[in-house]
């Protein structure tokens, strides 16, 4: 893969050229936190942030999104018939997405792009987007990406990986989309042999990661044993059933579908949902298969660390971004839970044979 180099002083000029062909989006500070936002005229992404408060998943998968519109006016020919909503799927660039968030997009794609069904909203937004990543030289202490199948210089899901190097950026161009990004920006790029430098920097960044998880025994663990294990009361006691962990998580994808009517005009929308909410699974009869806080907390961790592992064979459904760790209001820590699950002794041989 080609590596090119361009001066930082030309960054803004390049972005201005890109604005003519793309919608730009990047991290912007607001009231002390960074969020991915569409960049206004002349607005620059702030690459100084450690990471954004919310993950980048909302770029491809907005928290609320219209699916259909319809009319209930029976004098119209097509009343009560669902119609597609016009959306902007013109090309877009996400600047400064961290490698963890990019890998997460790839994991989420497993859910929305299947052999049987394709989610048109997610896929079209994804196809329209070029992911320009920013390598992570100052990982946070809550990050555990290297043991979660990712890393500060990880390339999966990215079209370009930018490495900040003093007065210039090194860019590892990974895809066709990435080539178009570099060409459109018109930077004065020199092909360089930066592989060894990037490799060095990667090793240095990875060495800074202080948190780890062990996942080696999850795949082989018995689902029913994990599910019935005694660890869950201790893990779930403090949970207050808010959706913070799932909403800040780059890999959580659950959603709800809602109809809303104003006068005779209606819309069908979908909104992020959370397995932490009691009504997530409640039946019309009132029966709730996951009625207790313990059951819901267990579902979240079992989904990420066991069901997903078994279903897709692509590791855990977590990229180690550390957001849920640092933002959980009651400090439930997935690193601790993962260790507990991984360390759970296998059922003894006799029980397994039964």
């Amino acid at each position: 893969m080609p590596i090119v180099k361009f001066e930082k002083q030309n960054w803004e000029t390049g972005l201005n050229k890109l604005r003519r062909a793309y919608r730009l989006c990047g991290p912007v500070e607001d009231k002390g936190f960074h969020y991915f936002k569409d960049l206004g005229e002349a607005e620059l992404p702030d690459f100084g942030c450690l990471n954004t408060r919310l993950s980048a998943k909302g770029i491809v998968y907005p928290q609320s999104e219209d699916m259909f519109e319809y009319s209930l006016d029976e004098t119209l020919d097509d009343h009560h018939v669902m119609k597609d909503v016009q959306k902007d799927y013109s090309p877009r660039i996400v600047l400064g997405i961290r490698p963890c968030d990019a890998k997460a997009v790839k994991l989420v794609k497993l859910n929305f792009d299947t052999a049987d069904y394709k989610d048109p909203y997610w896929l079209r937004a994804w196809e329209a987007t070029t992911f320009v990543g920013l390598a992570c030289d100052n990982p946070c202490s809550a990050c555990f990406c290297t043991t979660a199948g990712c890393g500060p210089y990880h390339e999966e899901g990215l079209d370009v990986l930018l490495v900040d190097n003093d007065d210039h950026y090194m860019a590892r161009v990974l895809t066709e989309k990435g080539i178009r990004f570099i060409e459109t920006a018109g930077w004065d790029t020199t092909g360089v042999d930066g592989a060894s430098l990037i490799e060095e920097r990667r090793a240095a960044a990875e060495a800074k990661i202080v948190s780890h998880v062990s996942t080696d025994r999850l795949r082989g663990a018995d689902t029913m044993t994990l599910h019935a294990a005694g660890i869950w009361e201790d893990i779930s006691f403090s949970c207050i059933n808010c959706g913070t962990c799932t909403f800040v998580c780059p890999t959580c994808w659950c959603f709800d579908i809602q109809d809303e009517v104003h006068g005779k005009q209606g819309k069908r929308t979908r909104n992020w949902d959370s397995c932490m909410f009691p009504i997530f699974t409640v039946h019309t009869t009132g029966h709730n298969p996951r009625g207790s806080q313990l059951q819901r907390v267990r579902q979240r961790f079992m989904h990420k660390l066991k069901y997903f592992v078994d279903k897709y064979d692509q590791g855990i459904m977590c990229v180690g971004c550390g957001r849920c760790v640092s933002q959980c209001p009651v400090n439930i820590d997935i690193r601790r839970v993962c260790e507990l699950m991984n360390d759970l002794p296998a059922p003894d041989a006799c029980a397994a044979q039964e």
Binding site: P62, E260, H262, Q265, K267
Partner: protein, 52 residues
């Protein structure tokens, strides 16, 4: 409501016994007149959901 930016006077309270029919009519008239004078509420309305 007023604290978060709704014009004063949109919410009114009254205590009317089920026996006080005249008072009820009186109060309803006064309230409707007062609200008509304020005109339609422009801020706290949701004519259509606005999402992505």
């Amino acid at each position: 409501m007023e604290h978060m930016g709704i014009e004063p006077g949109r919410i009114q309270f009254s205590w009317i016994s089920s026996a006080e029919a005249t008072k009820f009519v009186d109060v309803v008239n006064k309230v409707t007149d007062a609200i008509k004078e304020l005109g339609p509420n422009r801020s706290f309305v949701k004519p259509e959901t606005k999402v992505a």
